[in-house]
Amino acid sequence: MIEGARRSARWRLAERGLPRPGDEDWRFTPLAAILGKSYTAARPAGLTEAELEGLCLAPLDGYRLVFDNGRLAAELSRLPQGLRCGGLADEIDEALLLGPEEAGFGALAAARFCDGPYVVIPKGMKLDAPLHVVTVATSAEEQPREAHYRGVVVLEPGAEAVIVEEAVGRGGGEFFTNSVTRCELAEGSRLELYRLMRETEPLVSVHGLRARLGRDAGLRSHVVGLGGALARCDADVVLAGEGCEAELNGLYLACRRQHLDFHTRVVHAVPRGRSRELYKGVLDGQARSVFDGLVEVLPGAQKTDAHVYNKNLLLSEGGLAHTKPEFKIHANDVQCRHGATVGQLSEDALFYLRSRGVGTAQARSLLVYAFASEMLGRMALTKVREALARRIEAASGLEGA
């Protein structure tokens, strides 16, 4: 079955192709850093528990699904009893692997599909602990490697879950991770979804979240961009049921020559949907960021209430932030707000802190922390929040963080 699904994806890919540098959606993304290489499929690196712990931001109690260079590492995983949770490769059918809308990197992920998380939270069930989904990329010096993931998360009516996706990497060689996570939120379900992008720097990655929200469903997403030489993280969220709500939070900290890239598309397809989006970024060194946040309000989606904001803090002369919050509105009774800022650390605030004896480096990191803390404050998982806070506080400026 899996071969058939992969074959369909290859057809799709052949039909629609991969993005090209001139495409509007990829204008600011240095595609050559991904496409200009020939990769071979990565093989499991035999990851150990100790290695895994060293790679993760924080040890999370609860359930865990670990993928080692594209394959489920069953011995490192802790699965909840009595529900469908595991590797998608065991469950695959074509409908799960490839949505009708997929093209580009999403289709590529299906065509070269290795594995990915497959989780179904049954009707009315509240998952009693967070599920930590870790993908580990271990590069090899001699040869660029790749791993392609497709994951599926289904929340049946009234189900609730907290899922932490964490992408980590190691090794100094080149590695391309391409992943898609599809989330189906049925009526009245709630999902808090983290995406921690913590790859090491030679690594490149493209990730897409595709979420569809039913009536009164709630999605709260936290994207945290920290690692990777080039990391692109897209979110396509369709508000498909009345009264549903999506909150998209983003926090990115980029330094040296990192390129962190966020494209979000929120579609209000029905009336009375509410979406809130705020991505905040800090750039140091020669880092680049892209924020492209589109909200589409389809005809008939009256009483839509949508916000899109992007705020950037530049710590260096060389940092550069592209930002484009945007609305396409085809309904007339809506409340839509958007805004973007790019600024620097306040000299007044720096002097204020220094005049109290706080050294310049600590004052800078305190102000970066202050900027980021709004996003941390929205995270319900204490361990993730605190580990991120420590990381930000420890850095005096991001270089060398």
Binding site: Y352, S355, G357, L367
Partner: protein, 253 residues
């Protein structure tokens, strides 16, 4: 005799090519309160900023010594650690950092400078709560972000709280009375008075006399056109209150 806490001699300062201070001499002994009064634009804020190390000022001549040390060669944070404190005219709002966290960072930076170990979170909280009581500040403000959403009175009280916590030897108060109603002014003044100490000096920079009704100065200096044009006792403040600054400018002309 001990050297004065602060000794300013012939201080000339310009900002963006424009001379603001044209030769200031000022000697402040421990245990005293000096008031510096003057019309707008006379250089009052420049003096407090240049003494605390704000960037953007050019010292063209003169010296400022604190306990015998050359103050002007030190970066702002070093001056603070040595014991110089500026209560801001416009305290800066820092959303995202709690007051408590900020105070702890500052307090521990001072302790480290003096070779003392950092205080534990619990001991520090005890220290701060005692001081908050002293300056009549609601401890709830400790958990709020630094000055963020504070009323004018709360901001100024927060400055006095910082002063109480950090225990500096030289306190420069820049227009601390501005924007305060009479009740807030009295609370701030009580806080300052509670912190008066034989080892500590205050330099109160103000446009109006009213703070001096509650914080009694030992010396009053009138700053006009970048110079101290008159010095005297507290009666000078009353004279300024009655006659305004006009007579000074007339006398200078």
């Amino acid at each position: 005799m001990k050297p004065p806490l602060l000794e300013v001699k012939g201080l000339k300062v310009s900002v963006a090519g424009k001379q603001i201070l044209r030769g200031i001499d000022l000697s402040v002994a421990a245990g005293t309160v000096h008031a510096i009064m003057g019309p707008n634009g006379s250089g009052k804020s420049t003096l407090s900023h240049v003494l605390t190390g704000r960037e953007g000022y050019r010292v063209e001549a003169g010296t400022a010594r604190f306990c015998g040390k050359d103050l002007l060669s030190l970066p702002a944070e070093e001056r603070a650690r040595e014991g110089v404190f500026l209560a801001f005219q416009y305290p800066v709002e820092i959303a995202g950092v709690t007051n408590k966290y900020f105070l702890k960072a500052a307090y521990n930076a001072l302790r480290k400078h003096h070779g003392q170990p950092e205080l534990s979170a619990g001991d520090f909280l005890k220290h701060v709560k005692k001081k908050a009581q002293l300056v009549e500040m609601d401890p709830a403000l400790l958990n709020r972000d630094v000055n963020f959403g504070f009323s004018g009175g709360e901001k100024k009280r927060n400055e006095i709280l910082q002063l109480a916590v950090l225990e500096p030897r030289l306190c420069l108060l820049d227009e601390t009375d501005s924007g305060l109603d009479i009740d807030a002014l009295k609370i701030v003044a009580r806080g300052i008075n509670a912190l008066r100490d034989p080892e500590r000096a205050f330099v109160v920079v103000t446009h109006y006399q009213r703070l001096l009704d509650y914080v009694e100065p030992d010396f009053v200096h009138v700053l006009a056109g970048g110079r101290i044009v008159k010095s005297g006792g507290k009666e000078l403040a009353l004279q300024l209150e009655k006659e305004g600054y006009g007579w000074l400018e007339a006398a200078q002309a």
